[in-house]
């Protein structure tokens, strides 16, 4: 009851306008504010509230103290027809992300494939919104970003690697796309905190203690480092994301990425990687739609190990929430709505 009372359902357009106005209160130009609001509102529509409009206040904090540039002059270079480099000029992450998405789309329209490397950026929200927008235009995508260091190298004992997210999108003509958006840790830190509150041990595959040793003690784990999925495999994936999104893009990487929390006033120089492929060149929309429907049907037909949890295809949960938000409004915490309204004035 308390939980229900604290949620407001807000019409998508109203939330977009409110979030953009709130960002505008920090001096962000209308086009940029609209672009950033679009990504954050989509995050909430997908149910990824940790990356939704609740971020406006923390983005604003950094805009206010100069950690993020209010009026960045974002520049796009084309070293080759299918390749773009976007200098985000320390702008808001979602603004830089949308520039890079557009640059990769333009290159993919021209060449069939487009890659954009972005540098000089900040936290760009979740990946699903970008993958969704790409899929709506008929593009398959691989998108990734580096992040503040929170993970120890496999076998190491201090934080030198981000919990770098990687996302994939596959267009399904006339239907919802397949979307996967994942970070490389086994679990989020919040899950370890919950175990501590409940006085429960955790699997020793979730995290290490401060010395880099696997631990089942949630307290030691919170003092230590998240483990990546599959041990050395997830370590390798997180590192490859940083190589593509950070090192090759010309952005910061590994420990060169400044912490948002410890150095809020310093530019982070995060980097992103966008690969888009024009799926319309691979076959007709009917061909693609039939194959993707068949693909999903094969997976769904695997008898569930637990009948209460049928097999799902990545993105199904997010798209269900997305359509519900379109119909019934976007669920936002009342506390967040109050913040946004105060900022929008």
């Amino acid at each position: 009851m308390a939980r229900e009372a604290s949620i407001e359902n807000v019409a998508e357009q109203d939330l977009l306008a409110l979030a953009a106005k709130a960002l505008g209160s920090f001096g962000v130009k209308p086009d940029d504010a609209n672009a950033a609001a679009r990504i954050l509102v989509m995050a909430d529509m997908f149910g990824i509230h940790t990356h939704g409009v609740g971020r406006v206040a923390s983005y604003g904090e950094r805009l206010r103290i100069g950690g993020i540039a209010v009026s960045p002059e974002i520049r796009t270079e084309k070293p080759a027809p299918a390749l773009a480099k976007v200098d985000g000029a320390n702008g808001l992450g979602p603004v830089v992300g949308m520039h890079a998405l557009q640059a990769a789309m333009a290159a993919a329209r021209e060449c069939g494939v487009g890659v954009a490397f972005a540098s000089g950026s900040n936290h760009f929200g979740p990946i699903s919104p970008y993958s969704y927008l790409a899929a709506q235009e008929g593009f398959a995508s691989i998108i990734a970003s580096n992040a503040t260091t929170t993970i120890a190298p496999w076998g190491g004992s201090d934080a030198r690697l981000g919990n770098n997210p990687m996302g994939f999108g596959i267009p399904h003509p006339g239907q919802d796309p397949i979307l996967l958006d994942m970070a490389m840790s086994v679990v989020a830190r919040a899950k370890i905190r919950r175990a501590l509150e409940l006085g429960q041990a955790i699997p020793d595959t979730w995290a290490t203690d401060r010395a880099g040793r696997p631990t089942a003690d949630p307290r030691a784990a919170l003092d230590g480092f998240l483990l990546a999925i599959g041990g050395h495999k997830g370590y390798g994936l997180a590192l490859m994301v940083d190589l593509f999104a950070g090192l090759l893009s010309g952005a910061a990487y590994l420990t060169h990425v400044k912490s948002w929390v410890d150095n809020p006033e310093a530019p982070q120089n995060l980097g992103h990687f966008f690969l888009l492929i024009d799926a319309k060149l691979l076959g007709s929309p009917t061909w693609l739609a039939q194959r993707i429907a068949d693909f999903g049907a094969i997976l769904h037909a695997s008898p569930a190990a637990d009948p209460a949890h049928p097999v799902i295809v990545p993105g199904e949960i997010e798209m269900r929430k997305f359509h519900q938000a379109e119909r019934e409004g976007v669920p936002v915490e009342a506390k967040v709505m109050a913040e946004l309204r105060a900022l929008a004035g």
Copy 2:
């Protein structure tokens, strides 16, 4: 002693010639036999002996019964400047793989980025050799293939997904590239077999029993399915590899992929995905070499949790073995050498 006695060290060029001649004995044309031998010999040089010249006999078995085409007419189409589609015509996997690698390289030379989708293929060996060859020419790469179904969907209870490999390569001008080549299961089936032999329980994150329930019993696990890294995350990754390498390429996917073991005479119609990016367009060789050296140094400097196991960067072990094989010859089991010599006649 028994182990040492069973290994021969063979000069790289001699092994290449012998493997090509052995493949030729099945009717494979010299160019194709050389291309396939090159990939298999490199696999042995990297220490990936499960995917090395020991495969010649099993490839040959399928060539002999018509499961793999002896003289495929491989066709490359260019739907757009940066995009190639390669129809492997049921040729040997490494032959189709090399065609796709060349097509992606040509597109990336022209456009900065090149993608090749291959269909009508077979087991194409490990990914590291392709990533290495791409890196030697200055290309960063993401390469993937689908495979025979051995993994149950997350929460499902029958094999509908391959243990699909994905590989990454980053060129390091004047030095060894960074290489990551991984399948999506937590462990290989062989590791579960070893636990059974030793009478040991296994972590319940490695595999499920036949009903799709996590199990610590190696016997039940061998009757069941390998689990993917990170549960639903590795499931999502394996599925994305199949979507790019299988579905978008026009190849078979999921359960449409025929089993090599159960249907050796049927074309598998496997698919591969090659993305190449010309890293020379992103900065000078000096710029790139300095950044990659710094990247490696940062990771290596993380104090090891276990001093006997310092932190490594993916590809270091493989490249060490590679150079040792260049100097001292490629280590091959005497049994495999005898097979190759018998075939080469």
